[in-house]
Symmetry: C2
Subunit: 174 residues, 2 copies
DNA sequence: CCTCTTGTTGAGATCTGATCTCAAGAAGCT
DNA sequence: AGCTTCTTGAGATCAGATCTCAACAAGAGG
């Protein structure tokens, strides 16, 4: 596990604020840093139950907010309804492509966009604290699936030269 | 009202799909195009009731989805919880700065970001259908308010040379 | 190590935004 | 006008998130 530094930061942050270091908080921290993907509170609750870590729903929600507050986690609505959480690696901004066909989430990094956002905020005298950029659409696979469904008796269409494979962090929903 | 063209498009879209042109649909269309700001379903319902236009909650939700489907409205979560709707002007993409202090929403346009998004999608073989970009933080006024609150007996701080004023489309929440 | 204070937890109630149900109503075709 | 089919409205329902409050335990102090 490579979260020794983050763990230390979390504990220090808690103590600095007079918050207590509880077993539940540590367990939640471990869990969210063990899950290398975007995960929602309910899934987190289940996966902790599955590991025989006892924790209640309310505590999960409360402490997820705490993790976000201290900058170790990010909270976003990636699909439609639920909030998804992911642990944050300092200095590594990324954003998301969300496939509406299969639910997959792909991360991308764009220093150019980051820079432009900075310019825009400066121009408006705005002090940004966070941002959300997500692009919804269809991934390669889902586009092909849809095209095949539309005209069934026809194949050998010239497939794209090379299929871009990026980190896919969330599988399709059940 | 400058929505003659959009109104025509809406009616045509309805007929093309075999949907009916009802009084409720027309009223909702008028209302959302009359409100030049980001507004949620509940507010829309209230403002229509205030104008003695009878319409039910379910119908508002149903037909807002219809407007989004035909491309005349955009649906986004700008604050945290509710969906906000705004009417769309064709070919005029814009994104949002959201002040977490006063709730104000400011729109901005960035062709540069739009272009970069296009490149990213191409690189990933992703077919985008929509996007959300919002930057949260504090507006000029709220930054000053906070600074003044933090050290009360001190003034004459060098105010910024010129205060950028952009279209502010949503007032602070009640 | 024991005690006291005070922040934290857990089970379930509650809230909120959004969607669904289904009988009554009305577009629009003829 | 008559008929078919889509649409509406009132209220039930759903899902995700938050709140309540008594029991609990972290951590300071002795
Ligand atoms: Zn897909
Ligand atoms: Zn991510
Ligand atoms: Zn503000
Ligand atoms: Zn806008």
């Amino acid at each position: 596990m490579s979260d020794a530094r983050e763990r230390q930061k979390f504990l220090q942050w808690l103590r600095d604020r007079g918050h207590r270091v509880t077993a539940e908080r540590l367990a939640l921290f471990e869990e969210i840093f063990a899950q290398h993907r975007h995960i929602d509170a309910e899934e987190l609750l289940d996966s902790m139950k599955a590991r025989a870590l006892k924790i209640s729903r309310a505590t999960v929600y409360r402490n997820l907010d705490l993790l976000v507050e201290c900058g170790l986690a990010r909270k976003q609505r990636l699909g439609q309804n639920r909030f998804l959480y992911e642990h944050v690696h300092p200095g590594q901004r990324h954003d998301h492509l969300v496939c509406t066909g299969c639910g997959r989430v792909v991360e991308f990094v764009s220093p150019g966009i980051a820079a432009l956002q900075g310019e825009i905020c400066r121009a408006h005298g705005f002090s940004p604290t966070s941002h959300t950029l997500q692009i919804s659409g269809l991934c390669n696979a889902c586009v092909q699936k849809r095209d095949e469904a539309q005209r069934p008796p026809e194949r050998a269409l010239p497939s794209p030269a090379h299929v871009e494979t990026a980190r896919t962090l969330s599988g399709p929903p059940p």
